[in-house]
């Protein structure tokens, strides 16, 4: 018969109407999944915030580190010559101002442990 179709056409046309009734459990399962959705969403949001905060912390620390990388550490003053003008100045405690400054910054090197007396 010339009117007969090939299997592709027959299958395509027949599949258009193809439907299967799901069991009642299917909707119940879907509903259960939907009910758990806000909790899952909340957890995801929390995780995102935690990740963002951690990333920001790493960024801030990184920027601080890069900015301070080239600078000499504070203990370098140990090797700096004392300004000559200050060398001769003496305060009431017998410690010159440079010495006091280091004391205040708690960076007094060993050789300034005893204040210079003039």
């Amino acid at each position: 018969m010339n009117s007969r179709k090939d299997i592709f056409t027959v299958f395509l046309e027949s599949s258009k109407q193809f439907a299967v009734q799901p069991s009642p459990h299917a909707w119940q399962n879907l509903e259960r999944k939907l009910d758990s959705q806000p909790k899952e969403q909340g957890r995801v949001v929390l995780m995102r915030w935690a990740t963002a905060l951690a990333a920001m912390f790493v960024l801030v620390v990184g920027v601080w580190f890069v900015n301070n990388l080239g600078k000499a550490p504070s203990f370098a003053v140990e090797h700096e010559p004392m300004p000559k003008m200050l060398q001769n100045l003496v305060n009431t405690e017998g410690c010159n101002p440079y010495c006091l400054l280091l004391k205040e910054r708690k960076e007094l090197p060993a050789y300034y442990a005893n204040p210079v007396r003039n």
Binding site: M1, I7, V10, S15, F18, A19, P22, A26, E31, K33
Partner: protein, 179 residues
């Protein structure tokens, strides 16, 4: 309730609207899943997973094209994701893909739902997947190859083999010999 109203209500997480939308589309979508997934219970699980994505990603539907087409696309993706896990193309047979498929008339004009499933269930998963994607969904071999991570030749081979097997099955199962 129009489809647009229903979608809008579902976006507001209205459970009754979600159920209505599910009931409207579930039988056809389970039909889609059943064509790809052999086991009825697994097909239903895949459909539920698909509907979960539909209902939680409704914001992505931009009203371009039909809603049913959008849902169907999600279901097909869900089925393919499920099938990829079992890798049905691991030992896929390849034949000369240039064989002319021909337009040989078959012995029937129409298949009933049970016959569709009966025939599909007799096909190996690889044949069935390519047959569905090519014949029903209208994919090109290039698209099938991309979706399934196989070569274009494998896709063509699977289709030719599927067609041959399908014709054989139609003749055998329906017991009619046409001319």
């Amino acid at each position: 309730m129009t489809e647009q109203d229903l979608i809008a209500a579902c976006k507001r997480q209205d459970r009754r609207a979600q159920k209505l939308l599910y009931e409207r589309h579930a039988p056809v979508m389970l039909g889609v899943c059943r064509r790809y997934v052999h086991d009825p219970a697994t097909a239903e699980e895949v459909m539920v997973e698909g509907f979960f994505k539909v209902l939680t990603k409704l914001d992505l539907f931009n009203f371009e094209g039909s809603f049913e087409g959008w849902v169907r696309r999600i279901m097909i993706n869900e089925c393919l994701m499920h099938l990829r896990k079992s890798n049905p193309f691991k030992h896929a047979e390849e034949i000369n893909p240039n064989i002319d498929l021909g337009e040989e008339p078959t012995v029937v004009d129409r298949l009933e739902s049970e016959e569709i499933l009966g025939l599909l269930d007799e096909l190996p998963p690889g044949y069935r997947t390519v047959f569905n994607l090519y014949v029903v969904e209208g994919y090109k071999h290039r698209e099938i190859a991309e979706e399934l991570g196989i070569s274009i030749n494998t896709s063509k081979s699977q289709l030719i083999l599927a067609k041959g097997r399908m014709e054989e099955l139609v003749k055998k199962r329906l017991g009619k010999v046409g001319n």
